[in-house]
Subunit: 625 residues, 2 copies
Amino acid sequence: MTDSPPRRDVTAGSIWRVLVGRPLLSSEKAHEQITQVQGLSALSLDALTSVAYGPEAILVVLAVAGVGALHLILPITGAIVVLLAILVLSYRQVIDAYPSGGGAYAVSRANLGTNASHVAAASLVVDYTLTVAVSIAAGVGQLTSAFPGLASATVPLCLAFLALLTILNLRGLGDTARAFLLPTMIFIVGVLGITIVGLVHPLALHAAPLGHPTAATHGLEAVGVLLVLRAFAAGCSALTGVEAIANGVPLFREPRQVRAKRTEALLGLILGAMLVGLATLAVRFHIQPRSGQTALSQIMGEAVGRHFAYYFVSLAITFALALAANTSFGGLPVLASLLARDHYLPHIFTVRGDRQNFSTGIVALALFSAVLLVAVNGATQRLIPMFAIGVFTGFTLSQIGLVVHWYRTRPPRWRRRATINGVGATATALSTVIFLVSKFTAGGWVVAVSVVAFITLFRRIHRYYERAAELLGLGTIPPKPHPSAGALVIVPVTNISRLTARALSEALSLCPEVEAVTVVLSDGDEEVVDTLSRRWDEWDPGVPLRVLRTNYSSVVDPIVAFIDEERARRNDQVVVLIPVVVPTHLRYRVLHNHIEVLLSAALRTRTDIIVARVPMALDPSPPAR
Amino acid sequence: MTDSPPRRDVTAGSIWRVLVGRPLLSSEKAHEQITQVQGLSALSLDALTSVAYGPEAILVVLAVAGVGALHLILPITGAIVVLLAILVLSYRQVIDAYPSGGGAYAVSRANLGTNASHVAAASLVVDYTLTVAVSIAAGVGQLTSAFPGLASATVPLCLAFLALLTILNLRGLGDTARAFLLPTMIFIVGVLGITIVGLVHPLALHAAPLGHPTAATHGLEAVGVLLVLRAFAAGCSALTGVEAIANGVPLFREPRQVRAKRTEALLGLILGAMLVGLATLAVRFHIQPRSGQTALSQIMGEAVGRHFAYYFVSLAITFALALAANTSFGGLPVLASLLARDHYLPHIFTVRGDRQNFSTGIVALALFSAVLLVAVNGATQRLIPMFAIGVFTGFTLSQIGLVVHWYRTRPPRWRRRATINGVGATATALSTVIFLVSKFTAGGWVVAVSVVAFITLFRRIHRYYERAAELLGLGTIPPKPHPSAGALVIVPVTNISRLTARALSEALSLCPEVEAVTVVLSDGDEEVVDTLSRRWDEWDPGVPLRVLRTNYSSVVDPIVAFIDEERARRNDQVVVLIPVVVPTHLRYRVLHNHIEVLLSAALRTRTDIIVARVPMALDPSPPAR
């Protein structure tokens, strides 16, 4: 049992340590568990903060039909809130059925088979990435609405928030949840408070709006069914994230299911209230899309004026939004580890980092999101058409899976449960179709292509691992080891030094048959060779020196050719023992071992020999003068 | 003797092969030797093509004193041509004295001692880099003068020419010299031809000048001594490169010295004629600096109009200029190899590539030049103030060195020879002082700082190598090898497979004492461990399995701790034999060996153990379906 924290190297390592924290014991992982309120901040920020871009997404679509169409936001929001209620009810049942965390992947794998689970997993991967990008872009959008001078730094700000978030997550979820509690509370209280002020105050402090309207005064198209469906689809981006609590049940403190179900209900209530309130205010204040101003910023300006409360809550929203991406950082690495455990992703995704989190997944998510943010230049509304398709595909598969689950297990009241999930499945399936049809050309195709690409990747990786396991004979008992009769150790040398002596000692310790080889360029200095041979004889280390001559300039190729000859001539094991100098200071490394680097590279894929290094430390601190 | 060309890996390697050519035999190196005319193109393009920026550099300085001062270009060019004559005479003597290539570094090392040779070497490194940058920038400048539409692509064009040149040089000097012959001839004939047309044709075809004049109509300062000196210093950029032939004597075909001296004289004549001709035309046509138009382009336009001849010669100049950088590619890698042989640069600079050239030096030069070109945005005139200082420092040290050489060896007519070199030394030393004083604030300081930095670098590297040689006991006879009594081989395993079996076979071949270790996370699945232990007993490979438990997430740290324990417990040799899977396709590598990578990294600097890999090839081509 090794219980002291593992040691680390200096400099780069120490900076990493300060950022990420000391290595955690496995037992410390258990303490990182959360209460209802912490759950609301750690797992629901995504869903809650989507009020910052959902209503606006509806307005942007409606604006195409002119200012007159904007009041349609109210009935559309009504439909979305109904869908929200269905989802919350459905997901409380998911918590009952899968207390160990019922992600769409796990549920559909258990109930609907491999193919459905791949669709679910690929959809989720795409949407986790989009959630990070949308949340951070919207957060920065809110910040630049409040402080228009920052607008030119949109992309750098996005990447800075992303970096911050990645580091928080590499420290572990517990730190994260605690760090998120305060902004979440300020966000909820602030947005609800401002909404109430706007609704009840007869003389809201209408600040003059900034930016210029982007809505058409006369509609570019009539208010048709397709437009309303597009607006509905855009608005449903506000519902992403309601599944996160059900996925994260194991993170809750006991009694887990009770706490998780309560948190889910709380989320539904708060989110529904915010959406209805903001839609009402948008109509009352005649809010329309404006350049450089989010709709939420306009509503807040109208309700409380651009004073202290506006700036304070704006900052809270920015933080809450940027941190909302945490839902994905909680979700994707776990999903990737499940996929890797089932051999659908590289096994490295199952490896926990020092802080007991899945660091590879966290880093992969950060990289994908960074690419996406740079690609759309940090503009939220360019991401919205891609958003929600993946999430709703996952919703649908989860719900269908649960219907199958209830039908199979038939617990008490299974018919009622199956009906609720059936309604959920129908509603979300219908929504998914609406999204795909109405958003396809505007960016939805990117999601479709990515999902297919991920499914293909999963399958290819799986097929590879299957074949590799077969070739390696995993699960079978292999023949017993059969040591070879003799062995030959080849030691490439360039001079006679203490390192050469050490390498020969190690070689002779391994086996009595050792050959030293050195390479001479045919146009090289013959004198150097003669000197080396003469001094070798003088030294008489008990090992013959083979001088290889070459007409080419490479010194590595003759050694490889010599190894080949020896391999062909005898059936024994061949070990190549390369002496290397390891200077204590990294900066001196470039001054040594060019042959070792080239030879190692040349032999790296050789599977018929063993390549070993004999390192010798060198501390060439200049002598005191 | 291995005489078949070395084999290479696929893909990346094959592309490299096509670009750079097959490996050459050392004997083929000898054939890559050149005649006078080839020497002119391979070693003198730098000096010759400097007419494309030298005269212009004079005009740019004079323009500060107004249009009226521009006629001073004639006397200043006269002074430069006198200096040229002195240099040509001096360098013909260098060829006599150092037929093996008398670079400033070699000459000053032999005659003036280490410190002077460091100054020479550092100056040359700086100026070789500047030559590449200036030549390429001027070549692209000529191109964009002829085709103004390309002006926006200046930097990408510069980098493309640099890449082309680097590849040509990686193929070897012979290819290079042959490739350069045609553009050199077109350049010489074209520029001389156009100059003669401009001088003798009474009705030159004056094309309307493009761009707008940048010269002040009224002088910003009076024509003072400093201004004239600055103009002279700027114009001396036309003299860089006259030393290249003397450095490259060994490249010539026999009789080397005769050929080299003739080439040097030929260079002096052609360059002098061009400079005088162009200066005369500049005055006659009232040429002044213009935006987006080089002076040479204006002179050519005035002389022959912007017709076929103009465009043809412009293209030839562009190519000749871009290829002129070849002087540096011929010089710097050789200089770097000399410095590395004397332990002043990393030894890798002495290693010849497959094409028998010093590829590390070539690549280093290309990188430095690329940085410089990007830093000044491809603008020739921003490089001119840094240019020539280094070259003239080298000139001066060479000449002084030769005076010492003649005085020491006293061959026939040594007094006359010493006088010539003495005059050369005085003239170039004076010029160097003029350069430093007149250009210091405009960019000369960069050169001064770089030279000091390089000298410091040389000394630190030298001191390191001295100390390392002492610590390694180079030059002494070390104690005889003393094999240790026993050895222990530790094999980290994660499962039972053919690879595990193979690794244990290899381990047992090396020594009878072998231990397999595996790491279990304390919160991991106990069942997995039990299964592994049970199947291990069933298999009974003759090697005990040690199960290491850890409370942290790292699987590498417990193995390292175990190795430490074993090292502490016994005095024997410890070998760590890591089994690795080597998939035949590179893209599958990411799917394997995470532990190997981490463990190798953790053990890379351990000097008390031997780390070896047992690779097993895996060709998981999917089975036919």
